[in-house]
Symmetry: C2
Subunit: 315 residues, 2 copies
C-alpha cells in the first residue's frame, strides 16, 4: 500500500518530457527510469501517449512501456490519449489512469488534434460508455484536462467563463474528473487561484484536484503554491524539467520535479518522495540524454545545511 | 511625484549584482544603467555599497555613483553600509536610504563583517544618533536587514525565535525599519509567511515592509508571492538576475527583476514599471557584461499574446 502523503507528484517526464525532445529513449531505458522513480517514492508516472507514431515517434512504444511498468509496486501508471482509439489502446495495454487533453481554445484543438470541440466531446462520451461496459477492476480512472486554460498562443487570453463552461461540458460528457493545464506558460498565481476556485465550485471540490504547470516565464512554483493554497493536491512535473523548451537557457517547459518536491518538503508538505534519491537518479538522464538540457535549481545548489525531509520514506 | 503603485521593486543589480561578478563596470556605465532603470519606472535602486575598496573593488566608486544619480527624477537612491564609517560616507554622498546587513547568524556576521552582534548593534545606535543630529531634510531612511534569517550556510537552520529577537534588538538600537533577507537561498513559502507575520507582530506592521530573496533553489518567486500575501510591499530584485551565482546554469542568486515584475503585473498588482521597456534595456547588460550570465525566463519567452500591463505608465 502506498504511504499517505499530503500531495501527489505526478511525474510526466517519460511522456511530456520525452515527446518534446528529438532523442529516442529506448523502451528498456524508459522502464528502468520509471522503476527508479517509483523507487524514490514517486507514486504516479505518465509513462507515454497513445498518439500516432508518425506524429510522435518518441511515443511509439507506449504499449510496451505500460506493459513493463504496470506491475511496479506502489506505482499508478498513467497515459495520455488524444481520442477514443487511443483510449482503447491504453485500456488494452493496462493503463490505470488515462488523460485526454481538451484545449479550451478551439483554434488550438483544431491545430493540435485536427478536430472540433463537439467531436472531442463525442469521443469523451464514447470512452465513458466503453469504460462503463468493462468489469469494475478493469476500469481506468478517466480524466479530461483543460489545456490552454490560462491563455493560448494562438487566441491570446481565454475568458474564465469559457473555461468553467468547458469544465462542466467535460464532466457532463463523462470525464470522472477535470484537470487544469497551463499548456502555454501564461498562468499567474492570481489567475490560478480564481480558476481553481471557480471550477471547483462549478463541478465539485473533488472533481478538480490536479494541475499541470509550465515554468516558461519562471512562475511555475509560484503558481503551484497558489494552486496548493486553493486546494489542488496533484501536481504534474518533469524530472530535470525535461522537454518542451524552445527558449534557452533555463526556460524549461515543465516545472522541475526536484524543485517542486524541495518546495513542498521544505514547507512540511509530505510528498512521499525521497529527494536525495531523486537527485541521485538524475545521473541516469544526464548519461542517457547527453545532448538534451536537464534543468533544476535545487540539484545544482544542493540541499540546505541541516535540511530534513518531512517525508517518512522507509520502503 | 512618483506614481502610486501597489508594490515597490527595489533594484539591487548595481550593488548586489555587480559586487558578485569580477567585471568592473565603469562609473559612467553604472549611472547610465541606473538612469535607464528609472526611465522604465523603477522607483528605487540600490546603487552601491560603502565597503572597503580592497574587499570589493567593484564598489569603490559608490560615492561618485550616488552623486551622479541623486538628482534623477522619481528615483530613491539607496546604498548598503556595513558600519558607522560607511554610513557617514553614504550620508555625505547624499544617499536617501541606507541599509545595514545584520546577520542573524553570529558565525556569519563574524565571517562577513569580522564583528560580534554587540559591536554591530553599537554601530546601529551610533548611526541613529548621527542621523538624528542632522537637519530633517538631510536625514536618510535607515533600515537594518536581517541577513541569513532563513538559515545559514555555516550554522544551518536559524530558530525563528532568534530572528524575532534580533528584529526587536535592531529596532531598539535605532533602525527605522527592519528587512528580511534570504541571503542563502534557503527560504520556503511557509517559513516566509510565518516569519513575516511574527516579526510584524513583534516590531509593528509598518516596521517590516521589505524582503530580499534569492532564487538559488528556484523558489524565489513562490517566496515573493508568500511575502506579498503576508503584507510585504517592497521587493529587492536584480535585473537579469545579475550576480551571486556559484551554480550554473540558471541558478542565479538574486530573483530576476523582469520575472518578478511579470508576476505582479500579470496578477494585476501595479509595479509602476514598464516591463517592455525594462526588457528592452537588458541589451545594455548583454553588451556591457558580455562574459557574465544574464538570466530571466520572461525575457527569453516573451510576453504572452494579448498581455496587457496593468501599470499606468505615462511619464
Amino acid at each position: 500500500m502506498a504511504p499517505i502523503t499530503d500531495v501527489l507528484i505526478s511525474e510526466v517526464g517519460p511522456r511530456d518530457g520525452l515527446q518534446s525532445i528529438d532523442t529516442l529513449m529506448p523502451t528498456s531505458a524508459k522502464i528502468s527510469w520509471i522503476k527508479d522513480l517509483a523507487n524514490c517514492g514517486v507514486a504516479e508516472v505518465e509513462v507515454g501517449s497513445f498518439v500516432s507514431a508518425k506524429l510522435l515517434p518518441q511515443m511509439a512504444d507506449t504499449a510496451q512501456v505500460v506493459a513493463g511498468c504496470k506491475d511496479i509496486k506502489n506505482l499508478e501508471v498513467a497515459v495520455l490519449v488524444p481520442n477514443f482509439h487511443g483510449a482503447l489502446a491504453a485500456i488494452d495495454a493496462g493503463a490505470k489512469k488515462i488523460s485526454l487533453p481538451f484545449s479550451v481554445s478551439e483554434t488550438h484543438i483544431r491545430k493540435n488534434l485536427n478536430r472540433s470541440h463537439a467531436e472531442v466531446l463525442q469521443d469523451i462520451a464514447k470512452i465513458r460508455q466503453h469504460i462503463d461496459s468493462l468489469p469494475i477492476e478493469q476500469r481506468p480512472h478517466f480524466e479530461a484536462s483543460l489545456s490552454t486554460a490560462f491563455g493560448c498562443t494562438l487566441e491570446g487570453p481565454i475568458p474564465e467563463d469559457v473555461v468553467v463552461e468547458k469544465a462542466e461540458l467535460l464532466m457532463a460528457n463523462g470525464a470522472a474528473e477535470v484537470g487544469l493545464s497551463d499548456t502555454t506558460g501564461y498562468a499567474n498565481p492570481a489567475q490560478v487561484t480564481r480558476l481553481v476556485k471557480r471550477i471547483k465550485s462549478a463541478v465539485g471540490n473533488e472533481k478538480l484536484t490536479s494541475i499541470h504547470l509550465h515554468n516558461t516565464r519562471g512562475l511555475g512554483l509560484a503558481n503551484a503554491l497558489a494552486a496548493y493554497q486553493a486546494g489542488i493536491r496533484t501536481f504534474d512535473s518533469s524530472q530535470g524539467g525535461l522537454g518542451g523548451c524552445p527558449f534557452a537557457p533555463g526556460a524549461s517547459g515543465n516545472i522541475v520535479t526536484e524543485d517542486l518536491v524541495f518546495m513542498f518538503e521544505a514547507m512540511g508538505v509530505n510528498t512521499g518522495i525521497n529527494l536525495e534519491k531523486l537527485i541521485e537518479i538524475r545521473k541516469f538522464l544526464l548519461t542517457t540524454l547527453p545532448n538534451d538540457p536537464v534543468y533544476g535549481f535545487t540539484p545544482d545548489a544542493g540541499l540546505p545545511k541541516g535540511f530534513e525531509l518531512t517525508s517518512n520514506f522507509n520502503r
